[in-house]
Amino acid sequence: DGGPETGSSAVAATGANSIAISGSSTVEPISARVGERFDAANPSNSTTVEGPGTGDGFARLCAGEIDISDASRPIKDAEAEDCAANGIEYVELHIATDGLTVMTNPSNTTVDCLTFADLYALTGPESEGLENWSEANALAAELGGFAGFPDADLVVVGPGEESGTYDTYVEFVISDIAEERGQEESTRADYEASANDNVVVQGIAGNPTSIGWVGFAFFEQNADVLRAVEIDGGNGCVLPTIETIASFEYPLSRPLFIYVKTNELGTKSALVEFVDFYLSDEGVEAVGDAGYVELPAEDLEATRAAWAQAKG
């Protein structure tokens, strides 16, 4: 079991009035805001929100250490098996949508739209060691991308591997191509990684020929110093906007979840109240405040229904 040993591990799901949340740093801002507002109303409650990474969140959820796991990707089978093995039951609640935004420096005008092939050529496992955009042309062309990259320093910046954002990027952009080419399903190792999305933003803003990806929220907050790149997922180039993301028209749109442990719902009223609040209209505002895309009405209803059913 990796769980109980994890570094900032083991906020044991404890006394009736304390709620432990951990997981995706992408979702952390939402949960933090919700928690803050919930505690304001219930001072006797104790909430802890941490963002070590989606995987850590699931590990701890399945170790029974936390009540809610923030996730920027669905739970993996292996993780689900872990939970089952430990007798942990949970409900998956889709609470927001994020558009994983590929971006570059505003002064970089040569790139407007990229295919997955291009991104694979620039940031995939086979790109390890490339230091110039043009070096990626051959592979990009071979894979049927636009290619035609200029002769300029290539600086790749992105969230650390512990983040769900990274997983999503690999899953959406890299996996398929890597699979058929028999490559490791991961990005190149030699990119500037940071656990802190703002550092990523600064890395790109600070370098004219950089490329990188973050959650839409962080892009939006820094739209003035960044330039989003259109993505062609096969149906033409799409720019990430609230609309294109909400409608999943943007190829890198991804759902954000919270996974709530249901074992103690009967005994732990605070948790029930907390999630109720999370899904209430007041709670949902936090999504927008945190800069993410709120769910369309029908999706929100679906989520609330799922929660209602879980409460039984």
Partner: protein, 305 residues
Amino acid sequence: MTANSALIDLTGDPRRRRRERTVRFVFMTAAGVSVLISLAIVLSLIEQAWQFVVAIEFDQLLANGWFPRRGRFEFLTLFVHSSIITGIAMLVAVPFGLGSAIYLSEYAKPTSRRILKPILEVLAGIPSVVLGFFALQFLTPSVIRKVFPAADSANFLAAGIGVGILIIPLVASVSEDAMRAVPRALREASYGLGAKQWHTALRVVVPAALSGIAAAIILGISRAIGETMVVALAAGLNGIRNLNPLEGGLTMTGAIANLSVGSDQVAGNDSAFQSLFFVGLMLFTLTLGLNVISERVVRRYRQRY
């Protein structure tokens, strides 16, 4: 007379004797705790590190770079990065630390010494996380970037200088002790031969205190390798081996800190976190070795004078 001997009872008060035994036992237990601690450290490290070693393939330790989540555990990279930072740190700490020591023990009059010594004591009291912030937010932007505009926001140079500043007081105080242990007679001999102050300081006292100074430097190295917060803040997280002081990289302590902040356990990838104990064990062995060596060296000059 013989009756007298019967009168004399020297057996004393049994209650007092019992109390003595109890107190002694309590203190002994307290002293024992320190031993328990060391055992606990060694055991916890070894136990967990072993789990790591058996869990991974050997060639993962030679894979390219330190990427726990990809099962790449090239310890060498961490070691190299730690060494670079330590090197830079010593380039700062040795000259300034030794200089301070020489000034305090050879030049400063008792009065000025009383005023100057506290400078080092205050510096020694600054928490390392503060110096980490200083390195990240002052040294890099306001000093290093001024000289080398190409320097990354996280780079070895800033971290190294930060660590160096941190250990100046250590190097200074240990080597000053060594110099003050040099008997006055040697200084008088030197002056008696018409030596100037700097002759005496640099050609008589420093050589005579050399082993103590060596000990100070070794201790400094050990402290530099073990320093965490400055590195975690100012040296960056890059797991690919990098030798350029203007770019950053993950060190041993940095890796531990990073893993503890967020290791991203994915089921079936436990060794990512276990590697923390492996690195910890390496760090512990390394610093312990250095400390033991410096102990030896110090004892040499202690018994000389």
